[in-house]
Structure formats: C-alpha cells, structure tokens
Symmetry: D2
Subunit: 375 residues, 4 copies
C-alpha cells in the first residue's frame, strides 16, 4: 500500500499505512500557518477491497463543524469525483472505501489544477472579446492572471469577479469556469445583452501558490488573503495588492468574491451591511441581486448564512467588504458548500464541480438583471 | 453545375442552371397542398466563385412577408449554417453566394434530419428518468414518438410540449433538443427541482412525414396538423389523433406548442385569450409565464406578436387553443423567427439552431417558476 | 408492441407481432429483384423482457449459408451495435433478445445512413487536399459523389477505391470512413508519403439508392451493379456508367472494390486471375499486395476465399475484373464478413463498424508498399 | 512584458526583458548538474507584434549541434504547438515571433505535463486489461508508475517499454500515449493478436521529478538515469532501481527505451551490438525489428544514427544496453527528433506530439511481427 501527495494541490501526511483496515493520516498545515482542512492524496493498493482511513488530526482543523455530515470525494480517473462513506467522531475523520482499481484519489472537494487553470485562461484569450493580462507575480513566481471580457465603452459597468482567495475552496474556480464558458458563448442571449452594458474583470484564481501547495486558506507564506484588502503589500500579499491596484484603475461597479464554506450545506451570499458607506441604495441592490439568484435557481437560498454584521462593524480587511465600501458598489461574497446542498441532495456526487459551474452560469442571469442599476 | 435535393427534407425544382450568374429555381408545393416556403438543396459546382440563385416563385409562397429582410442559410459541412446575401424583389428571392468549396447546401433554416431525430430520442431513452413511447404510425409509416421524462406521482403537473407540427419550422426541434438536454442533466438544479413537481411529455417532432418530405406546413397528404385538433382522424391526421388521445389519458396541466414564424423577427408567444373557457386564472398564468420568459432571456419579448383573438373567437382547431380550452390549462404557441432576432442581431448566423436550443433550455426556468400554479 | 422500418435503409415486413415470444417477420425483396438478405427494423415494446423474432423467409434468401453461425446486431442508441443471440434452423432466422429499453434497432450489420454519408463527404471537402465531385445522378436522383484526394502530378499513380456497390454491405462504407480519415490526417507519415506518389479517387457509396431503400444487392430498379461493368447504361446502371467514364478520363493504376461477404467468417480478397489480360506482372502485384495485407494486420488472411477463376474465364461484368482487365492494373475485390472474423473472435461485437474502419486504415499501409510498382 | 516559468516543466532565466526587440534569456541548468537544453516559458505582452528572444547561453548547452536547423515550438492555447522562426548564430538561439494574443508559451518541444501523465495512467487503469502499479517513490516523492497490460500466461513474452529517462525528451511520453491508446483499443486486431502472445510492462515516465522540474537530462539531484543501470541505488537513482528490480521479477523478452535526440533530424534506433552477450540471434532480431519499422512507416529510417559500438565496448550503464545484455533480449533505444523529420518535412509543425503518438502506434505493428521470435 502506498499513499502519496506529491502532485498539484496534494496534501497529506502518512502516520501509519500498514493495514488497509487501519490507515492513519494527518492533514498538513498551510505553510507558516495553523490553518488546515484541505486534503488531497492518492491511495495505491493492488490488494483491492475495503480500506479505512482515519484523518487523526481532523478534530483540530480550521473548521471542525465542517466535518459534520461531510462526505469526502474520490476518483479513479481524475475526472469523475464521487462521494464516499465518511464520518466524524469528534476527533477522527473516517473515510471508508472499497477499492475497485489499484489507484484512487481522495480529496476534500474536486481539485482544480494549475494546469487546468492555465488551459482555461489561454483558451479564453483566443476569443475575440477576451484579453488575458498578467498583473504581476506571486511570491512563488506564478502569474496573477486577469481576463477582461467585453469592450470598454461609455457608461458601461465594470464588474469584477474574483475567486479562490482561499485555495482549498476549489468550487470557486469551477464556478468561474462555468461563468467564463457562458460569457464567451456567442449564441447566448444573456451574455450578448450583458456585454453591451458591462465589461468583466475576472480573476479565476486569486491564490495560485496556495492552490499548487495544497493549502486550505493562505498563500505561499501563510497569509490569509481575505484579511489583506485594507493594506495589501507586495511582500506579504502581492495577489491582493495587484488586483486592488487594477481595480483602482478600472473602477468597480460590482464585485463578487467566490468562496466555499466548510460548514453550511447550502449556497448563500454575505453582503456589506456592516461597512461604513453602506446605504439604502446599496441595500436595495443587494436585496434585488439576492432575490434574483433565489428566483433563477433552486440551488441558491437566503435562509441560512453568516450572521449579519452590525452597522459599521464590518471587517474591512475582507475583500468584498473593502471593495463594497471603497467603491460604494454591490459587493458580495458568494459561498458554496463542501457538503451537499441540503435543498437538492444528491447522494452520489453531493455539491460538485459540475453544479458549481452551473451556478456560475446562472449567476450571469442575475447580473444581467441588475446591470442597469449598478451605476 | 448540379443542383440536387434528393435527401432528407430536400425541396427544390430546377428551372434553369446553366450559368452561375443566372440560376432559376422553384420551391415545390407540399404534397396535395398549395403551401410552400421551405427550401433545402445542394449546389455543386467545381467552378467556384459567385453564384446567383433566383427562386422565381417566391412571390406566391405561403408567407410572402417572410422574405422581407430574410437571409438564407448555407453550409459546407452540414454542421455550421451561416447566413448568406439574400434579397426579395417582390417576386424573386435572390440568393448570392461566392462558393469556397464545390458543394454547398442552402436551406430556409438549419435542417433537423430524421436521423438526428432518431438519435435524439434513442439516446434520451437510455437515461433512467426517460421513457420512449411509440404512440402509433403516421401515414408514411413513421413512428409518432413520445418521451416521458420524470416519474408520475401524486399531485405532479403533467406538462406537454409538442414541436414541429409545421415541419419546415425546424427551429422547433432544435428548441426541443436544448430542452431535453437540460431536463436530462442530472447536475442541473432547475431540472432536478422541476422533476420533483412535474412529469414531462415531449413530442420533439409532431410531423415526421412532412419533415422528411421537405414540406413547409403539412403532413404526407397535405393536411395542416395545426388545424386538426378539434376532430383529428387516423385517416387524415393520425399525428394529432394519437397525441390527443394520449393527452386525454395523462391529463394536461400545461402545454407549449413550438413553432417558427416566417414574418416577425422576434421570439413571442400566442395565447388562449379567445377560447371559450378562458378565465382570470388562465390569464394570470399566461401573464406570469410570459413575463418570466421576458425576464429570463433578452431573446424573448412581448411587444410584437400576433393580433389577439376576440373573446370566444379563437380557432379551436389550433393545437394550443384546443388544449388550453379543453384542459383549462396554460397553453401557448411559442414562435421563433426564421429571420434574425432584431433585439440581438447576429450578422453571421442570425437566429440559429444553437440559439433555438438555448431558448429551449431557458424555457425550463420559466416553467419552474409557474409549476406550483399549474394545478 | 410495434415494429417499424420507415427510415433510412429500413427493411422488414411484419407477419405477426402479437406475442413477444412469437414475432414473425419477413425480409422484403430488393425492388424489381429477387435478392433479399439485408434487414433493419426497430422493435418497440414498453413491456420489456424476452423477445423472440423469427424471420420466416430466411431459408429462401440470397445467401442461405450466410445465416449459419451468424449473429444479428442490435442497438439502443444507434451508435453501439452489439451482437445478439441468433440461430438458423434451415428456414427461420431466430433472434432472441431481452429488451432493456423500450426501443431497439436490429440490423444485418451496423447501418451507415445517407445522412452520415453526406457528412463524410462534405467534411472531407473542407480539407485543402480533397475535392468533392458530383459525377451525376442516380435513378432516384441522388448524387454520385467522388472524393479526389491529393494533387495530380507527373508520374503519380491513380488509385481508385469504390465501395458498397451492394448496398447492404455497409461494412464497405465503414471501411471507407476509416480510409478517408487516415488519408486526410496530416500527421500520418504513411498518408503523407503516399500522397507524394498517388492521387486517390474514392467513391464511398456506389449505390446510394439501394442504400436508402434498404436493399441487399441492387440499385433502385433491381440491377446488380457489380454485373454491369462491361456495358453500363444511364438507363439501368448510371452509378457504374458515371464512375467508369471518370475512370476512363483519369486512368486507373490500382482499384479496390470494397464488399462484404455473407458466408465466410474472414477478410479476404478476390483477384483478376481469370481476366484475359492477366499476366505475370499482374500476378506479382496481386501477390505482393495480398502478402502485405496479411503482414500488416492479423485481421486479414489468404487461406479462405472464393474459388479461383480459370484463366480467361473471369466474369468481366464484375467491377474489379473489368477494371483490372481494361487498365491492366492491380484490381481486387475486398471482402469483409457479416459474421465475426474467426481468426480474432469478439463475442460482444463480432466483426464490426469499428473494425471495418481500422481495416480501411491498415489498407493504406499496404498501398504505400506497392505504390512504386503500380506504373 | 513579463516572462515566467513557474509551472510544470518551466525553465528559463530572464536576463533582460525591456524591449520586445531585444529579450535576453538563459536556460537554467538541471539541478546539481551541468546539463541544460530544455526550455519552456511563457511570454506575456499586451503590446502585440514582433518579439525577438535571444537565449544567450545556447552555445554552451548540452548539445550545441542540436540548435542547427532547429525551430522552437510555441502555443497560445497549450494544445496546438507550432514551429516558430528560430536561428542559431553559434552562441545565441534567436527566436522571433509576432504575437497575436498577449500570452504565448515557447518550449523546446511540446510539453507533456505531470497532470496529463496522471490522467493517462489512471484512465488506462479503468480498462479491464490494464493494471496500474506504483513501484515506489522518487527522491521528490513522486510515484514511479507501471502499467501492466495483458494477462500473464504460459509462454507469453514479457515486453518492457520505458520512456523519458531524459525528462526534456517529451516526445517519448507522447509516443507512449499513442502506444497505450492503441494497445487498449479493443477493436484493433494487432493489439488483440499481440495480447494473446505478450504482456506489456509500460513506464510512460521514468523521470517524473526531472519532468516537473524542467530538466533536460537528469533526475531531482542531477543524476543521468541512463547511466545508472549497472548499479542503481535508492539514494541516487530510485527510478532505475525500482524498474530494474521489477524487470528481474518479470523477466524481459524485449525492451524499448524511448528517447529524443537533439541533433539528428530523423527517427532511428540504437542497438546492443557492443554488449558482451550479443550474438547472431540477437543481431537477427534487431535487424528484423528495424527493417519492419522501416517498412511500416516512412517516418522511420536506418541510414542515419549513432555510430555503432565496437564489440564488447558498449556502455552497460545505459538502459537498453544493460537490459539487452542481462536478459539476452532484443533491446533498443528509440530516438525521435527535436527538429523536423527531414524525410517528411512539415514546415508548420515539424516533428510533433501527434507524430510521436502515431510512431508509438506503428511500433505496435513492428512488435507484433517479432513477438513469436522473442523467446
Ligand atoms: Ca472562504
Ligand atoms: Ca407554425
Ligand atoms: Ca458483395
Ligand atoms: Ca535521450
């Protein structure tokens, strides 16, 4: 039996792997950080059959409540990721699986590799209406890449969507892939109508270093980018610094920051109610957008979510708060589940890469309905 | 130079084809009928370059107003259908095209062959939630095929969608292909939510004989099926008879009948305002559905359309009128353009097979929003 | 239960179809001919389970020995054709199948539709090195289509390949699809090397009328095209007339005529040993080509085949005999089995569409090795 | 303008990148080694137009003769790699390219990423006849993966193919991809026939660490694996150690080791003529296999190649030499060009990923013809 994680976004440490019935593993902390929850490893055993893996440090991970009712994903072919039998005993996350082929990957959620990321942005750049810009480099030397879709024009709204500040929240990049695919579909009426009124600035991966390193939440040196928006620096958080600079240049009329939430088994948004510049217009925009998304897809809801911020008490180091406050614009953090969506449960796949992409596509329709109100 | 139409849905008669600059053609009438407007032929000429084709009997076709601002479609590979230079002088429809390969197809709209139809329904039947039923045979002996998607259940709405009563309106079957694809997509939240509340009865092609024969508007013996709903018969209109019988068995809570309109350069619906059983509830449902479709996609509108029927004056031989009246249910005729959609013009493709399919997918969302009101 | 065949290449007549356990069918003769053996029909029955179909006139069909050890093919999705339980009792061909979905197609061999044929030749014409020519029309008005691949040049060999004179031998067009795909593959070294030395004239379907009509062996008016090469006429056999005329223009340095054989469970060739102009050079070419094909693929063999013609006794009305004699060139009839290939049996698929296409590709290699000897 | 290489197999060092007309770059040495020649980087410049890149240390690279008549490859979409204008002045390799999109990748040859490698082996393992085995780990902790295709059986030949000991020779893994695809194609007669007589042991990537690191020739610690076969160790060359151990277990009846050659513009093999155990039988096998490959594809030749070893003077640290000597079996090093194949020049793509894959497929045919002679 062999367990390995020396590949894109791999993360595991083997404590013991002698008996298929008693495999002990630990998730590795993000570099220079105490966060950990993302795991991604390959189990290889020519002796097929039942395997029991225990992640023994799950009880001290970043979001312990995330393990409740959670099912890990697995794949034999690296394309289809299905849910496997998983339980949490308060300390150990116990994954049981009957091997059907010798090699199987397990992960916290369907991975989105840096290779796929590069394919995504380079194939997009070949279309006439899309430009790829490299804003600068990360601490590990990777490109911070921005897709600009649509032609700048008088009165057009500048809409920014950023994803995967937290690299382990891979659903965020699956969401972006769906969003981009639809926005570039020349046959799609919503996309065409929208591009007459807006220009899109899309950052499919805000944290490529953390992504490749198999981090949950931070960049190459352990910085949580979503707490860096007030004072980003090229030393600690070039990812945010570069994007924020570009936002200053273009202006921002709307911002979505795409995330995954460990605990809640639903899709939801978190708004700017606590930022100093929040006002009635801002609230009206938020309400309209949220209601639209609820209307457009039964995958979205507004019952469950984060507690609302007190007026003026929002944390302005958070991306969407800072952007919403600074640009006085509609700015939401969009959250998708690591678990299943309890409103439309799917026992085989749970909330998935494919469903994240469809939510991305559906979000285009919601934007289409608010675009005239943005400026 | 050779012009031929001996293939699925081919329709043309060659008057003269000696000079590339002066090709004279006529559209052939539907069998045992005076209707004609659909054309579909292949031009072959190893001497590439400019060709001018004149359809000399366009001035007497079924919908002369259909030729105004109309551009014919053409294809070299039978997959991509683009618009070509076309004008109407009151009598002749003049199509000009510079040949780039020796063989090119021209048609009134992107064809949808009987082979593709069979592929569509047989691939659908392989999914767990879809059943294919043969209701009986047409006069030429083809199958009348029904797809039932979803499981029958207490209180579920029975939603019927029929398409292509008029066989030359091929956009109707492209619409169905999009609709079916989305309804069978297990990752699509709207589809999943809808299938908990409704069962779908889909007839992707109401008129296979007319389709294969290259008819515009009628079945094998020249009968306009959309004037047969009050008294269909196995002798004249088995297509309608068989579907109507099945509707009686299942009951109908909503009906869409998918068509193409020759004249209007927009997508629109025609409702039941003139049927005897029309009432406030029916009107409310119609308004809601129509507004939803307007909201969901900029491809749809409600400004232009057919004149409204006077109360009680509707033609009950028309499919959606008869169904709406008989079952006292929401029943719309959906019309798509042969021309471009003037709201979102596309000079290369105009209104197209791909856009028809997307409208089909978007229609699913509109149904999802009215499904609770249907019973 | 319903059985239908009103589609491309459909052929069956229902004698009795009341009980799933006792379905009686007959194959219909080719129009104006006594030949019959090709069948292709759809069985529809929502009551799944075991079905027993008896083709009651199998005992008088064209090649009774073809039913021995033969297994019919079936498909639910019209893409995958698998073998089903079949036996022959000397009179009835008995097909047994347990229905897993309501609709299933049965056929003598995987069908190749006229729609697919048109796709094949039109997609081919889009490549730079391929031209599509319409030689004229068949009696039903279909195009006789020729693909010319490669550029004419001094000293280049003119290689003709014709397929499906006998329309029920669909494996011949699958062979052509594979051959064409490889010949147009710009990355393939054999194709590239060959195109420096030869021009290919390919007729993927010599008999489109018989193909669409569901004939075994003849054209629209019951003429066996492979007995028409000495004196073809536009009245009886325009298919042969047009191709032969074009051969006269181009000259022929090699000819393959692709067929299927009902009885022998192997791939083999039949040569020109009995034609008047046969000589040692011709024999040497034949032997070399045959040995090469044996060497290239274990699917081919030279043990079993047709009896050799006596010197001077060959039937010159047969295509490859007439061509080989007239042009004094290598000319073979290539035969593939309707049954499985006994040398490499495959219980699930038998000899198949996919294997026919691969044999087509492999034949390119054999031609590459004789091309320098052809002139 | 930005130039980056922080991705799979990236290798470049920027000396100066201020002016598009005067970009200076250096290739980085393999870790703990002096070898360098592989380069792979992304150039990003929103100011499109002409760019001139100078690799200023090309004159001291591992194979200076490799730059003569060499054209670099480039890609905008990471899928299509085309050749670009390149010249060598004795010291600088000068690449000129007119940017058409803002981001373009350049490389020594079409890259083959570790992600794709993982996809390849995991998709293969899902077929019934293929098993994936992890032999152990590399120094960077990556898996050494072996595909076993076919079922062990009495008298069957054990055929080993290893590829990419030299990681910059990516054509070797493209070759393997083609080879594996064909061997797993259940419709392919050669594959089926071969699997009745042989079991295949395939190592698509002998040097995953060097591959990901962007090395030309060595593993993670600068060891040239193809000089390690006499005394490999887990400390220096676990890649060779693990594979050699497995070879000892299975026995070897034939071995191909797949490489790329920097200098020669042809495909060729290098044999075992200099190993102590070489004998007439060995020579006969070599000659037969070589002639077969020449016959099968015009891409292969035997005119140009490496100088022959003197009897008994072969370097037994080289993989195929050691295997051929130890197991007294047919063992060849297969070499493909980085340049174009001068026998079939292709100005757009040169020798390519696609052509390497086809050579892999064709090699299957050559093996089929010697398989009976191997034991
Ligand atoms: Ca987050
Ligand atoms: Ca209509
Ligand atoms: Ca025949
Ligand atoms: Ca090498």
């Amino acid at each position: 039996m062999q367990i390995s994680c020396a590949f894109d976004s791999g993360n595991i440490s083997v404590v013991e792997a002698e008996q298929a019935s008693d495999i002990k593993l630990e998730i590795v902390k993000d570099n220079q950080s105490d966060f950990y929850q993302w795991f991604h490893f390959k189990l290889h055993n020519p002796a097929l059959g039942e395997h029991v893996m225990r992640i023994t440090n799950a009880g001290q991970s970043a979001y312990v409540e995330g393990w409740k009712d959670y099912q890990a994903v697995a794949s034999y072919d690296r394309e289809t990721w299905f849910r496997v039998d998983t339980e949490f005993d308060g300390q150990n996350l116990i994954i049981k699986h009957h091997l059907e082929h010798a090699s199987v990957y397990f992960a916290y959620f369907a991975p989105y590799s840096y290779e796929r990321h590069q394919d995504l942005i380079h194939q997009a750049q070949e279309t006439d209406i899309c430009e790829l810009t490299v804003l600068g480099q990360t601490l590990d030397g990777r490109d911070m890449s921005l897709l600009t879709i649509g032609e700048p024009g008088e009165g057009k709204a500048n809409i920014w969507i950023t994803a995967r500040q937290h690299p382990g929240e891979t659903m965020a990049e699956w969401f972006m892939e769906g969003f981009i695919e639809r926005l570039l579909d020349l046959d799609d009426g919503v996309a065409n109508a929208l591009l007459q009124k807006a220009v899109f600035y899309l950052v499919p991966n805000m944290n490529p270093d953390g992504s490749v390193r198999g981090h949950l939440r931070t960049n190459a040196i352990g910085v949580n980018l979503n707490r860096e928006w007030q004072e980003p620096s090229m030393e600690k958080s070039p990812e945010v610094y570069l994007v924020r600079e570009k936002m200053m240049q273009t202006g921002v009329d709307m911002h979505l920051d795409i995330h995954g939430d460990e605990a809640l088994p639903v899709n939801f948004v978190a708004g700017c109610e606590g930022v100093p510049n929040y006002d009635a217009r801002h609230k009206a925009l938020e309400d309209k957008f949220k209601e639209l998304l609820c209307a457009i897809t039964p995958e979205f809801q507004d019952e469950k979510g984060y507690p609302k911020d007190e007026p003026g008490k929002a944390n302005l180091t958070v991306g969407s708060n800072w952007v919403g406050n600074h640009f006085k614009c509609l700015a939401y953090t969009v959250e998708m589940p690591f678990k299943d969506n309890e409103l439309l449960p799917d026992v085989i796949f749970g909330w998935s890469d494919a469903r994240s992409a469809i939510l991305g596509k559906d979000t285009l329709t919601a934007i289409y309905h608010v675009v005239d109100d943005l400026r």
